[in-house]
Subunit: 91 residues, 2 copies
Amino acid sequence: MVEYQQGAGLDRIFKALADPTRRAILRALTRSPATINEIARPFAVSLNAISKHVMVLERAGLLRREVQGREHHCRIDPRPLREADAWLRGA
Amino acid sequence: MVEYQQGAGLDRIFKALADPTRRAILRALTRSPATINEIARPFAVSLNAISKHVMVLERAGLLRREVQGREHHCRIDPRPLREADAWLRGA
């Protein structure tokens, strides 16, 4: 589990969300969990670029990764989204 | 009025929110509009630093500024927050 502190967590969460590719990855993972290859398929960028985006999302706690052999299975963690939402609604 | 496109707008909005001082400024402006000097008062940073944060918020459309003589009156514009919230709820 990626731990995050309240303030620093929000910094990381909002920064992770400030990119259209990362937002599209999250949207796709909302529909179903996916491997990095599956995540990358619809995008016209390198697998390496997608891996970096996935890492940013993971560090923000928005994505959980489970390694099975050579495959990295990713799924969304909705809790940081709820934290961001709670902040927005209090603002 | 600061115009912003849907995607680029969300990039700017989330990036503007990824900083604790900018979030605190927005929170304060939710309670009441304020001049830049009033905004800066509770913060242990320079007026110049606060001005830069205000500019980032303004460019993201989150803050509106009205210049009256030498005073810059700032108030929050809640529409980009609602846009960010709509995205979060759809994610």
